[in-house]
């Protein structure tokens, strides 16, 4: 036990912070297929639980079932944006490509989950509220988050090629994440000061959930987390491959030049 801890304990912290020690990173990337298959299995289990096991909610009926997709997407959207924040800080501190790639990939996936949250929320809202969109505090702040990270990705796309994109994107990632709690607070105040004209028929279920619903939610959360980790490692691996291919191309070009 102690020997194995010793074996995996980083030999140098400097190396750990710059490249995740190489080994952690290596293990993460090589566990990719297993994480992927595990995610598929858990996803099947989630859908089985949602459709055949968990009891129908008495007031909302079937639309309530989207809750098991909506809530995990929302949680993972925040996790992904937190990964963007941490990776951005690490990039500004260590300046190794790895952190930049992590930040970029996590932002893409966070944006995906954010879109999923908004879409499932609107699908749920259509029958329950009678319309897909109301200016509820949580809806509004999720939508603003979606816009912020779209700006982040747009900057990455539109940045001129003669600058170091990662550095500036990291700053946007940090500022965007710091703005999240302030946006939440301000939007909440804004909504409480201007009460909604429509009566909310049902609040978002939460708090006193029955055990069966809680279990289903937790299973769904686990499978979504696995999907997130899988997508992240897959994207990071892809970016590394692109980078390595570029490197290889440069080497071959140089060799060809020497040959002629």
């Amino acid at each position: 036990m102690i020997a194995s801890i010793k074996k995996w304990w980083p030999r140098s912290w400097r190396q750990f912070w710059t490249t995740l020690d190489g080994r952690t990173y290596h293990v993460l990337l090589h566990a990719r297929p297993w994480i992927g298959w595990l995610a598929v299995g858990m996803m099947v289990a989630t859908f089985a639980l949602v459709f055949w096991w968990v009891p129908l909610e008495s007031i909302q009926g079937y639309p309530q079932k989207i809750f098991y997709i909506h809530v995990p997407s929302a949680w993972l959207m925040y996790s992904a944006f937190a990964v963007v924040f941490v990776a951005s800080v690490m990039y500004l501190w260590q300046r190794t490509q790895l952190w930049d790639i992590f930040a970029r990939c996590a932002a893409e996936i966070g944006f995906l989950f954010c879109s999923l949250t908004l879409v499932t929320g609107m699908l749920w809202g259509s029958p329950i509220w009678g319309k897909p969109w109301v200016w509820d505090a949580r809806l509004t702040s999720s939508f603003i988050l979606w816009l912020i990270y779209m700006g982040y990705l747009l900057f990455r796309m539109l940045a001129r090629s003669d600058i170091e994109v990662g550095r500036i994107a990291a700053v946007i990632g940090i500022i965007g994440f710091l703005d999240v709690p302030i946006i939440h607070l301000s939007v909440q105040w804004w909504r409480t000061l201007h009460p909604l004209p429509v009566v909310m028929i049902a609040e978002n279920p939460g708090g006193g959930l029955p055990a069966s619903m809680l279990i289903t939610l937790l299973v769904a959360l686990t499978s979504f987390s696995l999907v997130f980790v899988y997508l992240l490692t897959q994207r990071v691996w892809q970016e590394r491959t692109i980078e390595n291919l570029g490197l290889l191309e440069a080497i071959l070009d140089r060799k060809a030049e020497h040959a002629t």
């Binding site: 500004l92 603003i144 988050l145 816009l147 912020i148 779209m150 700006g151 747009l154 900057f155 539109l158 940045a159 001129r160 600058i163 550095r167 500036i168 990291a170 700053v171 946007i172 940090i174 500022i175 965007g176 710091l178 703005d179 302030i182 946006i183 607070l185 301000s186 939007v187 105040w189 804004w190 000061l193």
Partner: protein
């Protein structure tokens, strides 16, 4: 305090430049007033609607004026390699940011001096008793908005889309400050004023957080 001295020098330079081309600021003020006017056409409001919409129109027009202004005030540094010259001087990047930030705040406030009376007249807002409190919230919000605006103008300058990207990045991040401004002035004009200090406090917290973060990280945005 060489940092402070260089910040003051940058502010003085920017103010002198704008003072020599007053028509620029005047045009922006007219643009801001025009936005307020166009807002009326959008809704065919009754007199009650007017005083309810007034504060919102004021802030939206300021948001637009800022988006145009920040781009201009930063882009003037890029002409003739002035920015390279600034970067070559041994000036702390934080001081450079503070200089540009204070300058942008002053110019926006200058626009507001024209905009607020015009809007209060057009929207029939009763500013008689509330103007000191309104001035306070205008100043606090402008400081925060100018901080983010100057910062993102520097960022947007690094893209091929330039002017297009600035509002896309700036507006979502400025939502809290816009809501504070609109919320506080709404409280002053139509509400009972109880939540006024909450909104001003939120805007002040925004100023402190983003003023600090932007000053600290400006070096990452600006170095060529």
């Amino acid at each position: 305090m060489t940092g402070l001295r260089s910040a003051v020098a940058i502010i003085a330079k920017d103010v002198r430049l704008e003072a020599r081309r007053v028509e620029n600021l005047a045009t922006m003020a007219i643009f801001a007033v025009l936005v307020v006017v166009v807002f009326v056409f959008a809704g065919d409001p009754t007199p009650e609607d007017l005083s309810r919409l007034g504060p919102g129109a004021l802030w939206v027009s300021l948001l637009f004026a800022g988006a145009i202004g920040f781009q201009r005030w930063f882009a003037q540094e890029e002409r003739n390699g002035a920015l390279q010259g600034l970067l070559l001087t041994p000036v702390d990047r934080g001081a450079l940011f503070i200089g540009k930030w204070v300058g942008a705040t002053l110019f926006l406030l200058a626009i507001e001096i024209v905009l607020v009376p015009a809007a209060s007249m057009l929207y029939d807002l009763n500013l008689g008793a509330v103007w000191p409190k309104l001035t306070l919230v205008m100043v606090v919000v402008t400081i925060g908005y100018a901080a983010l605006g100057t910062f993102f103008a520097a960022i947007a300058a690094h893209t091929t889309a330039g002017q297009l990207l600035l509002p896309v990045l700036l507006f979502p991040l400025s939502v809290p400050i816009l809501l504070s401004g609109a919320g506080a002035s709404q409280q002053l004009m139509t509400g009972d004023g109880t939540a006024y200090w909450d909104w001003v406090g939120l805007a002040a917290a925004f100023d402190v957080i983003f003023g600090t973060v932007c000053t600290m990280t400006f070096e990452y945005v600006i170095t060529e």
